[in-house]
Every structure is written in structure tokens, then in C-alpha cells.
């Protein structure tokens, strides 16, 4: 079904956006800073993608799940959404882990001192 992959990506992105909003992890912590990180991530990975496509390493496989909209040869529209998902997931994880890691490290330090 054309568009199924995009739909799956959008549902996933909605999920991490909800987590972000609920726990103030990334965009909901600092919107501008998050936007800057996201833009850098997208540019970084798109350059990587285009280089890989240019070298002929990977390309669109045989499927009927894509919309068929291409941003560049062998770079489907869906790739941008995949990269948004990758970057946002990374930063949700990082945002969620920081307080946990800080607490753990503090406790470990105290344990060592006493």
C-alpha cells in the first residue's frame, strides 16, 4: 500500500512528540535549541545519504510502501521523516537519561565517600 511507510513514520514521530511534550525532553524543553539540533542532524544525515546513494551503496528496494515522491534520485520523501524520527528519538532518550544518570552518578559518588 503506497504511503504505508510514511504513515508508520508519522505515527512513530507522533509517539516521540507526545513523550517529548509529556516529559519536556527536547522541543518542549528548549524549542529553538532543539530546532537547531534537528536542522544540523537532518543536514548531516542527508549528506551521508546522498553520498551513499551517489556511491551506489543503497537505493530504494522493491516495494509498494513508498509514496513515490523523490527528493533526489533514490532519496524518497520518507527519508526526511525517518531522519526526523532518528534525531528526535536520540534527543528524547538523551533528555530522559540525563536526570537519571545524574542521580545515579551522585549516589555512586556518595557511596564511595561514606
Amino acid at each position: 500500500m503506497p504511503g504505508a511507510y510514511l504513515a508508520g513514520l508519522l505515527v512513530s514521530i507522533a509517539g516521540i512528540a507526545v513523550l517529548d511534550a509529556r516529559y519536556r525532553l527536547f522541543f518542549w524543553r528548549s524549542p529553538l535549541r532543539a530546532a537547531a539540533v534537528m536542522v544540523i542532524g537532518l543536514v548531516f544525515f542527508l549528506v551521508w545519504d546522498v553520498a551513499g546513494v551517489h556511491l551506489g551503496i543503497f537505493f530504494i528496494g522493491r516495494n509498494d510502501l513508498l509514496t513515490g515522491v523523490l527528493l533526489a534520485p533514490e532519496v524518497p520523501l520518507e527519508e526526511v521523516f525517518f531522519l526526523v524520527l532518528l534525531c528526535w528519538t536520540t534527543m528524547d532518550l538523551f533528555g530522559a537519561l540525563r536526570p537519571v544518570v545524574a542521580r545515579r552518578l551522585d549516589r555512586a559518588d556518595e557511596g564511595r565517600r561514606s
Binding site: I57, G61, L93, R98
Partner: protein, 134 residues
């Protein structure tokens, strides 16, 4: 093993760049907020990276299995994690190195206020009057 190192070599400059940014962020973080902050940042990013690797392993098997993406067997090492080339994992590593580092670097150095609730953000100054002189 058939195949080649082309895909693996492609990752080298990108991971090197991401690693450089990560080291820079570590240095900046330590200078601004002390070695403890650097440790929290790097441990958090490392754990996030491990989780991402696991998530990538699941996700990539799905998209390669469904034929969303395919690879030229002559340009990859041939080592696979299930269905996808092991080189794909470099994306997750790159993300964990680069993005948390950028987050740290884009932190506006205003004391140690950042990690607290937003309430203390506003300085105790009277609101500036709009445009006293045009």
C-alpha cells in the same frame, strides 16, 4: 567474505566529524559546568547510543525486510545484523555522538540555571518600556 569496505569507509568521515563535535562539547561542558556535567552528558549520550543501536537493529530489519531500502552487495562488507548490513549501525552511533553534543554546545551559558524548571528563567528586572525613542 565477498563485498568491499566502501560502505564502512563512507561512515569514517561522518563519524570522525561527529566525534570531534562530541569532544568539543565535552570540553565546553566541563569548562562551563565542571567535570561532573561532562560526565553526566557523556554517560547519557553513551547509554542513549546503546538504546539507539537496539532500536536500529529492530527498525532496519523491518525496512530492509519490507524492501524499503536495498544495498549493492559489492559495496558492503557482507556482515549483516539479521537482514541489514552492519554498517547501517553507524547512523545510530553518529546520532548519539553528534546530536547530544550540539545540544550541549547550543546551551546558552547563564550560570547553572538551565537544568532547572523554567520558572527562574526570567530575570528580576522591570519590563523594558517599548521603544522610548524611535
Amino acid at each position: 567474505m565477498t563485498g568491499s569496505a566502501t560502505y564502512a569507509l563512507l561512515a569514517v568521515p561522518f563519524l570522525a566529524f561527529a566525534a570531534l563535535v562530541a569532544v568539543a562539547a565535552g570540553a565546553v561542558s566541563a569548562r562551563r559546568r565542571g567535570a561532573g556535567a561532562r560526565r553526566v552528558g557523556s554517560v547519557s549520550a553513551a547509554v542513549a547510543g546503546v538504546v539507539l543501536l537496539v532500536m536500529t537493529a529492530v527498525f532496519n530489519n523491518v525496512i530492509v525486510g519490507l524492501g524499503v531500502v536495498a544495498y549493492d552487495d559489492a559495496l558492503i562488507s557482507g556482515a549483516r545484523v539479521g537482514l541489514f548490513p552492519v554498517e547501517d549501525l553507524a547512523y545510530a552511533i553518529g546520532a548519539a555522538l553528534l546530536l547530544p553534543a550540539c545540544w550541549v554546545l547550543f546551551d546558552r551559558p547563564r550560570g547553572t540555571r538551565d537544568e532547572r524548571p523554567v520558572r527562574s528563567e526570567r530575570p528580576n528586572q522591570p519590563p523594558r518600556r517599548p521603544e522610548e525613542t524611535p
